[in-house]
């Protein structure tokens, strides 16, 4: 039973996903969130519909097709359907399908790299205009302070984290821009796994010293 998702993606991001204008890493975030969130799925589909109307109202009479265009299309059809390449992978309790595609397998196949203090990350292969990574944060540990230069979105896949104001559980997304200053901390009950994407340049150095151990009293 999934808990109710209370922190959603913004309409701007969902519309841009439908328009196809986001960097690949952001598309991965949207596809992953929508896999768990029927509400945002419906919003995306309504923006798909807006795109459909835009297409339908694009004047067709001022664009000439090449002579023989229809025959060429029928020849393509006769050539058969291209193979579908989406691999069928066994379901994973933590990673939704889009992440299975990018990891190339389930959670047990993620190639984690330690960044210190028990925190691990795995960079996912996306285009370079933005980056996506999985973060593994031990229960009760503060998340790496990752100065928000651009837009950064963090979605919980396992466990939970909280900051000064809010609590984020599986499926919840925190959307942060450069104004946000806070210290999210992984919930004490379970190690936290997140998908984090950002369009700011990734800074690998400097991450380590900023990680502060929390809940030192326990």
């Amino acid at each position: 039973m999934e808990q109710k998702i209370t922190h959603h993606l913004t309409d701007e991001i969902l519309m841009a996903y439908a328009a196809g204008t986001l960097p690949e890493a952001f598309n991965l975030m949207v596809a992953t969130h929508v896999s768990l969130c029927d509400e945002c799925r419906a919003v995306v589909e309504s923006y798909d519909a807006l795109g459909g109307e835009v297409l339908d109202q694009t004047p067709g009479n001022d664009v000439a097709l090449t002579p023989g265009s229809f025959a060429a299309t029928m020849a393509l059809i006769a050539g058969g359907a291209p193979d579908e390449i989406r691999a069928q992978r066994p379901k994973d309790a933590v990673l939704p399908q889009p992440l299975l595609d990018y990891v190339g397998g389930g959670l047990d196949t993620v190639k984690w790299r330690s960044v210190g203090m028990g925190v691990k990350q795995a960079i996912l292969p996306t285009s370079s205009d933005a980056s996506a990574r999985l973060l593994y944060i031990p229960a009760g540990t503060a998340m790496p302070d990752h100065g928000h230069n651009g837009t950064e979105m963090t979605m919980v896949l396992q466990g939970a984290f909280q900051d000064e104001d809010d609590y984020f559980a599986r499926g919840d997304v925190e959307v942060a821009d450069s104004d946000l200053h806070h210290t999210p901390v992984a919930d004490i009950h379970e190690d936290c796994i997140c998908l984090a994407v950002t369009d700011a340049p990734l800074r690998f150095e400097g991450l380590l010293p900023k990680i502060a151990q929390r809940f030192a009293r326990i």
Binding site: D11, V54, T58, S69
Partner: protein, 182 residues
């Protein structure tokens, strides 16, 4: 306007004929309407004429091959073709993969309820009308958002979209559409 309402159901009917009977006449009519629009959409998105032509042919061939995936209770034919064209654009023009959400457990294997189909197609008609009735400058901004063709000064925020220009009538039409899909 009733005309174009009838048109939507006509396109749905065409898709079913393509799916069930490999009906080339239905496909030719669908092609005549949508292929130039797809080509125009891709050219406005930055493809040159010959690349746009090639992609438009591939998009239309995909319509044929994937006709069994079309669900008229969830999308108009224009919407469905738009999503195919958009994915082709990302693949060919931007050379990126497009991550797609997990499929829902229920698919078009079950023939959708005719009332649901009618409701969805009517809501998309309302949306189309709301867009057509926008002042030209606002309509153009929405079009450009989908073409990925906005100038820096037109971009409202970091997402690159002028969402503030989407007027209440369109928001309402989008809301109703969301409910029709649930």
């Amino acid at each position: 306007m009733q005309d174009s309402d009838g048109k939507r159901m006509l396109w749905v009917d065409h898709m079913l004929r393509i799916r069930d009977d490999q009906d080339q006449t239905a496909f030719a009519e669908l092609f005549d309407h949508f292929a130039p629009r797809v080509k125009g959409f891709l050219m406005k998105s930055g493809a040159d004429a010959s690349l746009a032509e090639e992609c438009a042919q591939e998009v239309m061939a995909t319509c044929w091959h994937k006709a069994h995936m079309f669900d008229p209770a969830r999308a108009s034919v224009a919407t469905w073709i738009f999503t195919i064209a958009r994915n082709r654009k990302i693949d060919v023009l931007r050379k990126q993969r497009r991550p797609e959400p997990e499929d829902l457990g229920w698919g078009p294997e079950d023939e959708p309820d005719q009332a649901d189909v009618m409701a969805l197609q009517q809501e998309s008609e309302q949306l189309g009308r709301a867009i057509a009735e926008l002042p030209p400058a606002q309509r153009e901004l929405i079009q450009k958002a989908y073409f990925g063709d906005l100038s820096h000064s037109e971009i409202a925020d970091q997402t690159g979209l002028p969402l503030g220009t989407i007027k209440s009538r369109i928001r309402l039409a989008l809301e109703r559409l969301r409910h029709a899909m649930k």
